[in-house]
């Protein structure tokens, strides 16, 4: 099942958008890999470049956007230079399926959902119409929709049902990778929980990898095996969710975790991150977090920080099968924990000291 070759490999990706008098460096030197049968969560704030990455993966950048450098390899084949039409013919639905951000509005309102499925099947497979419908009906069952409703129009569905229809379509031609851009953001929490649960259940009977793009680290920690944290177009840190949870080494990852509301620890004061993400006008040849970072040094602004492996921590042993409660998330060491902070070695101590400092300040003011 798991081979040495990653399913998707993004290396040194730079994406730029051309404006009238300006260039936006939306993604700078981004690298991460998705292994077979693993879910990777790509997290970051608005404007950090995560949706741009999704669009470059499926050759669907806006017309003023282009991949300036870097490679995207799917099963070893470079796909970054494909046109949208080539990508659609060779990869879309069969190999890579896409769940867009506004999935609720991406069904054709004038077609029955079954027709939309048979249309996809007709374009990409040699299945007969009956075969296609049978398979689609089966998938309705998988995502928890009544099979009798495949001939409904989208407006007859609720938001959560539309979302599940999109997931059924994404699974339809048995792709090996699903790219989901904020798949549950528009949904209420109970519906979100149901959908995420389906996304977990579908991996029980098939090999499936997923790139789950979201701003919500709790969704990633609970549902993904690996993660990549982005800030200002750069990958700040990547590795297994266990590594990043237990030993975060980039200041942004550390502060983001402390800023995230956790209903279990509501007495804790939330950490705040100063400033705003940078507007990416200039060439990002420095750490994009430097202006917000409590530990920034002059070196952080000299040269873009390389994504370097994090040595295995002494305090928390890594790899070799740390198992989460549901038994699925095993850190098998396939994905290397890497961060682009040049002070990564000092970071654990600095972060602890920072916490003490804040605590002391609070006690003083209170």
């Amino acid at each position: 099942m798991t081979t040495d070759e990653p399913l998707l490999e993004v290396e040194g990706l730079d994406v730029e958008y051309e404006l009238t008098n300006d260039v936006i460096h939306a993604v700078s030197d981004a690298s991460f890999t998705i292994q077979e049968n693993r879910y990777l969560g790509l997290v970051g704030e608005s404007g950090c470049g995560k949706s741009t990455i999704a669009q470059s993966l499926i050759s669907a950048l806006d017309s003023n956007g282009e991949i300036a450098s870097g490679t995207i390899r799917f099963r070893g084949e470079e796909i970054q230079d494909l046109t949208e039409a080539e990508f659609k013919n060779e990869y879309l639905w069969n190999e890579i399926a896409f769940i867009p951000q506004s999935a609720m509005n991406s069904l054709d309102p004038l077609m029955k959902v079954s027709e939309q499925a048979t249309k996809i099947a007709k374009e990409h497979t040699d299945w007969s119409k009956e075969e296609a419908l049978d398979r689609f009906r089966e998938l309705f069952g998988v995502v928890g929709l009544p099979e009798s409703r495949i001939d409904d129009y989208p407006h007859q569905f609720s938001g959560g049902m539309k979302q599940r229809t999109i997931i059924a379509l994404a699974l339809f031609l048995k792709p090996s990778l699903i790219i989901a851009d904020e798949p549950t953001t528009a949904l209420d929490v109970i519906m979100q929980d149901q959908i995420l649960n389906y996304l977990q259940e579908i991996r029980r009977d098939r090999d499936l990898s997923m790139l789950m793009i979201t701003h919500d680290i709790s969704v990633v920690f609970e549902n993904c095996d690996d993660m990549a944290v982005m800030h200002g177009g750069q990958v700040a840190e990547t590795g297994s969710v266990v590594d990043i949870y237990t030993q975060p080494r980039h200041p942004y990852t550390i502060l983001l975790q402390r800023a995230f509301p956790d209903v279990r620890f509501r007495d804790r004061k939330l950490e705040t991150i100063e400033g705003e993400p940078p507007v990416l006008h200039e060439d990002m040849d420095f750490c994009s977090f430097a202006d917000r970072c409590p530990w920034a040094t002059p070196e952080c602004r000299q040269g873009s920080p390389p994504l370097e492996p994090v040595p295995e921590g002494a305090e928390t042993p890594r790899g070799g099968g740390e198992t989460a409660a549901d038994g699925t998330r095993v850190d098998d060491g396939v994905v290397t924990h890497r961060t682009s902070c040049i002070r990564q070695e000092e970071m654990a101590d600095l972060a602890d000291a920072h916490l003490d400092e804040i605590e002391a300040k609070r006690t003083l003011t209170e």
Binding site: I217, V263, I273
Partner: protein, 360 residues
């Protein structure tokens, strides 16, 4: 009666909407032909917001929380029930009372990107409400600076001449907060004020709202779908489902010891930022129905794992055993057998005035 008077009290509030205002439907209605039941968006809500208290109204889309807020603001007039502000029933408000009410009860909207006039500078945005309420005094700019500082926009002077387009999302929301604070309000109404703000900025906004209640002695009604953010700001939580408050209690009581099966599912469904968490996904299925032509009884009965026959009668809000401040509207928590009178729930409700006399 308790010793202190609540700043804002809502009693049995109802707001219904007509499903259609089309001419055919109206004609049918006149002739007594068509059956066009109303949408019962808010259906018998009681709330008591004390001085210097932050309370949350929580629920999924369509539960009526936004309608409740808009009715409280006075954008909708209630179909039934009372809103009492600082001891005065709003039915008795004069025009001047309404103006004073708007000064003392400002709102912070969900979307800071569209709630500030883009042609205004921050100074204009802050001085406008002062002008309307005749509060400019000798030093309006000083008041503006003071309000910006309270909203932690510092140095305040540097913000005065900026326009909406020169502010980030978090800064915009702070300007909205400053605009509310400049009127020296008593109650802040907040409609999901952080839901469109990024996590790194959201934390500082939540801390700010929390501090404001503490430092300025404000009260706040915070409407949201997100229990985890609310838990950092609010003292009490009211859970709404299909137009009714089904559980109410202190934040700790509701989150640590939820009673209503819906609240339990809602809390269980919150993802936690921890890969080792042993949270089980909720087994609740389906979505709430539309609040039209609802069957009688408990609104949640069709999705409820604990459904009993008695659920066809409307549950009254009852105190939980251990905590008089923690109420839940569920038959599981009181002896409904003993309370059954000749006509079902009417006897149950005698004297407590919850939800009115009848379901329909």
């Amino acid at each position: 009666m308790s010793s202190t008077q609540p700043i804002l009290e809502v009693r049995n509030l109802e707001k219904t909407f007509k499903q259609s205002t089309g001419i055919l439907d109206l004609a049918k209605e006149r002739l007594g032909l068509g059956d066009n039941p109303p949408i019962r968006a808010v259906d018998g809500v009681d709330l008591r917001l004390e001085q210097n208290q932050a309370q949350a109204v929580i629920g999924e889309s369509g539960c009526g929380k936004t309608t409740l807020l808009k009715t409280l603001m006075g954008l909708y007039s209630p179909t039934g029930g009372d809103v009492v502000f600082d001891g005065t029933n709003r039915d008795e408000f004069s025009k001047a009372d309404w103006k004073e009410f708007r000064r003392r009860v400002p709102i912070i909207f969900q979307d800071p990107f569209n709630s500030i006039n883009p042609t205004f500078t921050v100074r204009d945005a802050l001085l406008e409400p002062l002008g309307i309420h005749d509060m400019k005094g000798d030093d309006p700019e000083g008041k503006a600076i003071d309000a910006l500082e309270k909203a932690r926009l510092t140095p305040a002077e540097t913000y005065l001449d900026r326009r909406e387009s020169e502010l980030s999302g978090g800064e915009k929301q702070r300007v909205s907060i400053a605009r509310a604070l400049i009127l020296d309000p008593d109650v802040l109404l907040a409609d999901e004020p952080t839901s469109m703000i990024d996590v790194s900025t959201q934390a500082s906004l939540l801390n700010l709202l929390d501090d404001l209640v503490e430092e300025l002695g404000l009260s706040m009604l915070y409407v949201s779908h997100d229990l985890s953010t609310v838990s950092y700001v609010c003292d009490r939580i009211n859970v709404m489902y299909l137009g009714r408050v089904i559980e109410s209690g202190t934040t700790d009581a509701v989150l640590d010891n939820p009673k209503h099966p819906y609240t339990q599912a809602l809390i269980q469904a919150i993802p936690v930022p921890d890969p080792f968490s042993d949270r089980e996904p909720t087994d609740l299925r389906g979505t709430p129905s539309d609040p039209i032509n609802l069957p009688g009884g408990c609104r949640f009965k069709d999705r409820c794992p604990e459904r009993m026959d008695v659920c066809d009668r409307t549950p009254r809000s009852t105190e939980t055993e251990d905590d008089a401040e923690h109420t839940v509207a569920c038959h599981l928590y009181y002896d409904h057998e003993g309370a059954t009178g000749a006509d079902g729930h009417a006897t149950v409700r005698a004297g407590n005035g919850m939800h009115g006399g009848d379901d329909r």
